[in-house]
């Protein structure tokens, strides 16, 4: 059976959006291969309705493992569970999102089960003659696109860049029913089954324990999962001016990003940094305000769907990758954009 598996991620009992995006990727591959699309959930006390949502978003089968030991993502424990499941069911392809979870667990797992892994793919396809997975990813700061395959090892594994594909719309007419693991041995799992895999206490690895999220940052930034990102750079001149970016981002419903310069000057904290030493992102809209666009910065935004720049220098690098640029004084241009947005929302404060 040429099944395609995706690792679903959850936070506080809710399946994360990246996991639905991943199912949209997997759906196309499974259809081409004639296999089933299976989503794997490792959780502690997840609501069954959340598991059904994976079916509604394209999965044929959901395998879930439930244990208090799975409350947090612990790479070693995840690897014990996933390698057991892979040994038993032998999937053809195994995908995870290129999040901190996917990019930690999959390389650890790939070594343990001796297979290849391709990081942070932006395109996946099936090679017609062989059924091999063609994994395409940007490398060397986005200057090249490399297509990679794993010819002789199974499963073929890849992490997939968040926001590089849209999730399928939720289809509640897809049948989802809770089943049992016993039936799975005979291969007679019908589509729409949600199957609980019994917990094996030997899977719990106690070497790493998570105590939680630091409280003052419980609502921290996640620019890699954002649809819209508004970023500020050195052109803002001083920290006191960075509120222009905050306010513009707020009006767009966007997350705040920043260049390395702005972060190094202490205008904004590191989790906001975009580029080679920060985050590589693919939002629908990236607005770079007062950012000249060093090679390292551009490497972090090249796969954005749409790039808008506001810069006083018509020769700024960022214009080479932008779709739309205003060359002018940002201190005059940004308030004007802000004014239009506030008016538009009837929120003219």
């Amino acid at each position: 059976m040429r099944d395609v598996w995706t690792l679903a991620e959850q936070h506080k009992g809710k399946i994360k959006d990246v996991s639905f995006e991943l199912l949209a990727r997997g759906r196309g591959l499974a259809d081409t291969l004639g296999g089933r699309l299976c989503s794997i959930v490792l959780s502690s006390g997840i609501d069954k309705e959340e598991l059904r949502r994976l079916i509604y978003h394209g999965a044929d089968i959901v395998y879930f493992v439930d244990s208090s030991c799975l409350e947090h993502v612990v790479c070693e424990t995840y690897t014990h569970v996933l390698s057991s499941l892979i040994d038993e069911y032998l999937p053809h392809v195994f995908l995870a999102a290129a999040t901190t979870t996917g990019r930690t667990v999959l390389p650890y797992l790939a070594v343990k089960i001796h297979t290849g892994l391709t990081a942070d793919c932006t395109e996946l396809a099936i090679e017609e003659e062989t059924g091999n997975l063609l994994q395409t990813r940007p490398a060397i700061g986005g200057n090249i696109m490399a297509t990679i395959k794993t010819p002789r090892h199974r499963p073929q594994m890849a992490t997939v860049r968040p926001k590089s594909m849209k999730a399928l719309p939720e289809d509640r007419s897809r049948i989802a029913s809770i089943g049992h693991a016993e039936n799975s041995q005979t291969g007679k799992i019908h589509s729409g089954s949600i199957i609980q895999i019994p917990w094996n206490p030997a899977w719990c690895d106690k070497r790493v324990t998570v105590s939680g999220i630091r409280e003052d940052d419980a609502d921290s930034v996640s620019i890699e999962e954002a649809d819209l990102v508004v970023s500020g750079g050195r052109g803002l001149k001083k920290r006191d001016n960075f509120h222009l970016i905050d306010e513009l981002a707020h009006a767009f419903g966007a997350q705040v990003g920043a260049s390395r310069d702005a972060v190094d000057r202490g205008w904004v904290s590191y989790p906001h940094q975009v580029g080679l030493s920060g985050k590589t992102i693919s939002p629908r809209l990236y607005m770079g305000i007062g950012i000249s666009g060093a090679v390292q910065h551009l490497a972090g935004i090249k796969t954005a769907e749409c790039i808008v720049a506001v810069n006083s220098d018509e020769h700024a690098n960022i214009l080479q990758v932008a779709d739309f640029a205003i060359v002018g004084d940002l201190f005059a241009v940004i308030p004007e954009i802000q004014r239009r947005l506030d008016t538009k929302d009837g929120n003219n404060e």
Binding site: H11, D17, H72, C75, T100, R103, P107, Y108, V111, T115, G116, L117, T118, E123, P138, I140, N143, I144, M145, T147, I148, T150, H153, R161, S164, M165, P169, R207, V208, V210, S211, I213, R214, D216, A218, S220, V221, A226, D227, H250, Q255, V256, W267, V268, S269, L276, S277, Q296, T303, E305, C306, V308, E314, F324, A325, I326, V327, G328, A332, D345
Partner: protein
């Protein structure tokens, strides 16, 4: 404490030559530097050493020219260095690279275990090695610290891979070390949901992010020491590894195609100077965003009050380091219209 820092030599420029036959990078031509993200790993190791005492061994796998990056790490303050170099290591993917580095670290560990008096049986075999390498008395490896990823390959898979090969605990995306004891480390990780606090048993592999520390510069004294330091070179026959697991031959993945993406974006550039041209430029921007379905009216309008932004701004002033920022409620709004996008490289 015995800390090992695996580093990578990366090209300085973004103009890298590719071998069309094997699809791997030709490294010999371009100027090379220590992977910039590895500098944070080196700095972290140096700080642990300053606080706890111990020795730092820096290790790399690469062509003869990679000695240069080892010397730079020594100039920053690392005690010793090992160079894994063999033509059979060439063309390795992350699986084979992490396996080779792990084998090198295992050998280091054996040598220093012997010097710590545990492996007396092998004393004679390893004594000279330990003195040459400069890990005399360093004991077992407690930490392996790597950068988050290399700026050329950009995978971030080798650090976790090393942990897996050596079956050590793994803590990735470390942004802060909280506490180190003889048996455990407590650290903070920067993940999507914020700063996560974890405890890991030693020995452990840490991959660190930029936020953890700002790297020091090499000192003159360090440079002099680096110049004189003898750096052992280990090849395939020195490591306990199956020949089938090395280099391109041992790599489960194959690069089948390399393309240079053409920048297909056509940039509309509008100049804005006086009030009138600014208004006109913003008009055009609004029209452009409207066409692309990117204006906020297409999303549920933000309903949070301005107070929140003000408080965010004032928090930054008072507490710049730990700035927390509320996620905009509409950031991932499911009501966004699907623009029919199917690929990531629009």
């Amino acid at each position: 404490m015995h800390i090992v820092v695996p580093i990578k030599q990366v090209p300085e420029t973004s103009n890298v030559q590719m071998d069309r036959e094997t699809g791997t990078m030709i490294r010999s031509g371009s100027d090379s530097i220590v992977n910039p993200l590895d500098l944070y790993a080196l700095e972290t190791a140096l700080r642990i050493k300053e606080e706890q005492g111990g020795k730092i061994t820096v290790i790399t796998m690469g062509p003869p020219s990679a000695v240069k990056v080892l010397k730079e790490a020594v100039a920053m303050g690392c005690d010793s260095a090992v160079h894994l170099s063999d033509k059979d290591f060439g063309g390795a993917d992350t699986w084979a690279t992490s396996g080779t580095l792990a084998a090198g670290i295992e050998k280091l560990s054996e040598i220093s275990r012997n010097r710590a008096g545990i492996w007396n049986a092998y004393k004679d075999t390893y004594r000279d090695d330990a003195e040459t390498i400069g890990i005399d008395g360093a004991g077992d490896v407690d930490f392996i610290i790597t950068g988050e990823r290399a700026t050329d390959g950009d995978t971030g898979q080798v650090g976790p891979g090393i942990a897996s090969w050596l079956d050590m605990s793994l803590v990735t995306y470390v942004s802060k070390l909280v506490q180190i004891t003889d048996t455990h480390i407590q650290a903070e990780r920067l993940i999507e949901e914020g700063y996560q606090i974890v405890q890991a048993a030693l020995p452990a592999v840490l991959t660190v992010v930029k936020e953890i520390a700002s790297p020091r510069l090499p000192t003159l004294k360090g440079k002099k020491r680096a110049m004189k330091l003898e750096i052992p070179k280990w090849g395939a026959s020195d490591l306990d590894l199956d020949a089938e697991d090395l280099g391109l031959k041992g790599s489960p993945t194959r690069v089948v195609k390399i393309e240079t993406p053409k920048i297909s974006r056509k940039c509309t550039v509008v100049k804005a100077g006086d009030d009138q041209t600014i208004r006109s430029a913003v008009d055009q921007l609004m029209e452009f965003l409207e066409q692309k379905d990117l204006l906020p009216s297409k999303i549920a309008p933000p309903r949070e009050s301005m107070n929140q932004q003000k408080s965010a701004a004032s928090r930054r002033e008072t507490n710049n380091e730990n700035l927390s920022r509320k996620k905009a409620a509409t950031g991932n709004a499911p009501t966004l219209k699907d623009s029919g996008r199917t690929g990531g490289d629009a």
